[in-house]
Amino acid sequence: MEVSRRMVNLFGGGGIGRDLNLNLKETELCLGLPGGGGSEGAPKTNGKRGFSETVDLKLNLQTKEAAPLDLKEAQSKNGLKEKNPLTAHDSIKDPAKPPAKAQVVGWPPVRSYRKNMMANKSSKDEGSADQKPSTASMAAFVKVSMDGAPYLRKVDLKMYNSYDQLSDALGKMFSSFTMGNYGAQEMIDFMNESKLMDLLNSSEYVPTYEDKDGDWMLVGDVPWEMFVESCKRLRIMKGSEAIGLAPRAMEKCKSRS
């Protein structure tokens, strides 16, 4: 597949490829980046990444030294909308709110059992009802695919506590393909129909998921815990393709409220 070969040229091979790769990463849409650039949310990170640069990323959020030519080529091969590769502007959509830091898999090194126990406690402190995490110690891996991306990922939904965190992680995972078109920096606002319609009419990418019933839904329509329980797989697709899901999402939403 031609896309992947081009990707391989960018990511693999000799030193130049590596440098390009570094630069590519630095211009990616960075959601919640400071210091978090070392790894992505999924267990896989590109081993070729230079690690000293994570320190750099902490200090300068974005350097725009990308080779725009390569980016454009990558974009056209992926069928992505032409967009200015200098996406730093896009990444700091809301300067007032510091971007949530995406968590790295397995860090800090605390076993999931303990993490789940503690998560339970903090939510208890917030006054929520007595919760027993029925699958407390089991991970919830789901496949994540993105239209146009050459390979699948897997994420453990239990690693995250909110849609924002998941969104960050997905953004980083597929950043090399979205070039800023990943529209879920803010969670989809289901209450605002016109906003929703705008999103779905664009070529922005939106996350969708298949639930227990086999239906495909827009991510974000149900409370987080319910989502984790019911999500079977994730698919990031173009807004325009997801448009068929919206009415169903609305319906399910209404039937739940």
């Binding site: 896989k44 990170t45 081993g47 994570t54 790295v104 898999v105 800090p108 406690k121 903090s122």
Partner: protein, 625 residues
């Protein structure tokens, strides 16, 4: 770095695991003496069956009798090397086998060499698997072991497994095969359900120890507690504090009441404080208690007396180890005051209590040697520990909120205080958000007995937060000044200099954990070339590549394993190692499900010495070079 619950069971256990060395015979499995608390009596294997001339025969009998008293594996290994006859006799008299890596040797080979084994320890998955760094179903199956041992060791009494996968069927086979079975200890294991447990508890009538620390048990509808046989049991230790299954309390109460030898009882969080009370009343001789929820009292029944929890605790005169508090209601904490003065071990690491509540407890625990807490006790709480617990040997401070970039309640202040107040400290695990070199250096000076030093600065690449310098000097001081150090876990911003220190001074270091550290291959080279005792090396997300990897060729046969994930290794580099060292099993693990990824990058390298060659149960994401 992380928790490892089983250490809490054996406060007097010798933490020093015998170093494994390859004998000339290249037998990598080594026994270790079982911890004294478990009370396993070593059987004397007296019958020798050698057809040899009379004088030789006498010598061998004498040898057997003498070898019986050799328990330390290092001594046994040495004895086995003296001569063929010593080798044979030693093999016949070895009753405890320790297998540090289940894939290093096949079950058949073990049972062939050691025919009279009573106790077996087997470890499976590497530790980093605990943190989701390894895809599921990697391996570590108990099945082949129980199948082989079931036939070879009908008199097997004790099985201790760590990070292994067991099925219900395996447990059934165990229960059926070993009529004299006495002790089952499963640490960080998974794969089975309550049905499997049922088989064990119902068939193993001499069961003394059932310990399921940090082991995942799925609930398949069967209440295993109800299946202990009627009448008095031999139970001495029943530990299921992390088992997330409902239990039938009446059955448990009955079980405890008919287990006169019970000394250790660790309940899961399904057990309410009211139920705890009833159990304690019928078992006042407990030495180790895990309190379960320590909350959710029954609604008050006006006909019953109010439960006097304090009295129940006072009645337990032998209590030395307290844990649990899984859903603690702090109002009930004062009930434990009367036992605090006797406690040598206290685990509050699941108890979200505030500073004042913690201080009210800890200020009475002046005999404490082992303490596990949450960082919600703040530096202030740690200062209270330092003021009271002069005898402290082991401290673990876990994060309530295990994330980066949040406000941390403990810091260098707490560490400094502990170093000043607890000079006998031998083992520390400390999670924090910020740290200074000065505090770490202070600890290296104040606590010369340190054997285990694990510091986890949760923010990756965090420097000394006051000076802005890397944490090299702090860790350097630790390896320099703590002459007994065998286990080290490093974190924070670290350059190759830190590794230079480790290579230069860490001559006794056996276990090293590295994450997000170092600048270049040189760092890893320092360690591989400088640390002759290195057995277990686990590295993640650090810039070490092929050049560093091949610099350790001289040493890999001496190690139990090397783990490197998300470093800068290439397949070729790993291939080179595999070619150079044929007795090394070099596994490459892949995180991706689909192809299309760059074939050259290595997600995870996990390699270990092995006599049995490439294993045959490797899943698809594992490539063995």
């Amino acid at each position: 770095m992380s928790e490892n619950n089983h250490h809490l069971h054996h406060p007097q256990q010798n933490h020093f695991c015998p170093a494994e060395t390859m004998s000339e015979d290249e037998e990598p499995s080594r026994p270790s003496p079982p911890p004294p608390e478990l009370g396993s009596k070593k059987t004397r294997n007296c019958a020798a069956v050698h057809p040899s001339p009379h004088s030789d025969r006498v010598l061998e009998i004498v040898l057997e009798h003498v070898l019986q008293f050799l328990t330390a594996s290092r001594d046994r290994n040495a004895a086995s090397l003296v001569s063929k006859s010593w080798y044979r006799t030693e093999a016949l008299t070895r009753s405890d086998v320790f297998i540090g890596n289940c894939y290093s040797v096949s079950p058949a080979r073990v049972t062939t060499r050691f025919p009279r084994v009573r106790s077996v320890v087997i470890k499976g998955r590497p530790r980093f698997a605990d943190f989701n760094l390894m895809p599921q179903n990697w391996g570590g199956h108990f099945g082949p072991w129980v199948a082989t041992m079931g036939k070879a060791y009908p008199l097997l009494e004790r099985v201790y497994l760590k990070r292994m996968s067991l099925t219900d069927r395996d447990l059934c086979l165990l229960a059926d095969s070993f009529t004299k079975f006495k002790e089952l200890v499963l640490v960080c294991c998974e794969g089975f359900g309550t049905s499997g447990l049922t088989a064990v508890v119902s068939k193993c009538r001499q069961l003394r120890v059932l310990d399921l620390s940090d082991t995942e048990v799925s609930y398949d509808g069967v209440d295993w507690i109800s299946y202990f046989p009627e009448g008095e049991t031999c139970l001495e230790s029943l530990i299921f504090d992390c088992v997330e299954c409902p239990i039938n309390f009446e059955a448990l109460e009955s079980l405890v009441a008919r287990s006169p030898a019970l000394k250790k009882l660790r309940l899961n969080r399904e057990v309410s404080i009211g139920q705890l009370y009833r159990l304690m009343v019928s078992a006042p001789n407990l030495t180790h208690l895990g309190t379960g929820a320590f909350g959710h009292p029954e609604p008050q029944d006006p006909n019953n007396q109010e439960m006097d929890y304090a009295a129940a605790f006072s009645a337990c005169k032998s209590l030395v180890c307290l844990s649990g508090f899984r859903e603690v209601m702090p109002d009930y904490l004062p009930a434990i005051y009367s036992v605090c003065a006797n406690l040598t071990s206290l685990n509050l690491s699941y108890a979200n209590i505030d500073v004042e509540q913690f201080k009210s407890v800890i200020c009475q625990c002046f005999k404490l040697q082992i303490l596990w807490v949450l960082d919600s006790v703040y530096d202030e709480g740690l200062q209270a520990v330092a003021a009271t617990c002069r005898d402290l040997r082991e401290l673990r401070v876990f994060p309530l909120n295990a994330q980066e970039d949040v406000e941390g309640p403990v810091s260098e202040v707490g560490l400094q205080a502990i170093s000043e107040g607890c000079p006998k400290l031998e083992s520390i695990l400390y999670f924090c958000q910020r740290m200074t070199n000065a505090a770490v250096i202070a600890m290296s000076n104040n606590c010369p007995d340190l054997v285990v030093f694990r510091l986890c600065i949760m923010g990756r690449h965090q420097p000394d937060h006051i000076t802005g310098a890397p944490m090299d000097e702090g860790f350097g001081a630790i390896v320099m000044n703590c002459k007994k150090l065998t286990r080290l876990a490093i974190s924070g911003l670290l350059t190759d200099r830190a590794f230079a220190y480790i290579g230069m001074y860490g001559k006794l270091v056996r276990t090293l954990s590295v994450a997000f550290a170092g600048d270049s291959d040189t760092g890893l080279k320092y360690v591989l070339e400088g640390c002759p005792k290195l057995q277990k090396l686990e590295i993640r997300d650090s810039p070490f590549g092929d050049a560093a990897l091949v610099s350790g060729l001289h040493h890999y046969y001496n190690m139990r394993f090397l783990w490197m994930s998300t470093c800068q290794l290439s397949r070729q580099g790993c291939q080179e190692v595999a070619r150079a060292l044929p007795r090394l099993s070099v596994e490459l693990l892949s995180y991706e499900e689909n192809e299309k990824m760059d074939d050259d990058t290595v997600d995870v390298l996990y390699m270990y010495r092995s006599l049995q060659g490439p294993r045959d149960d490797a899943p698809q994401f594992v490539t063995i070079l």
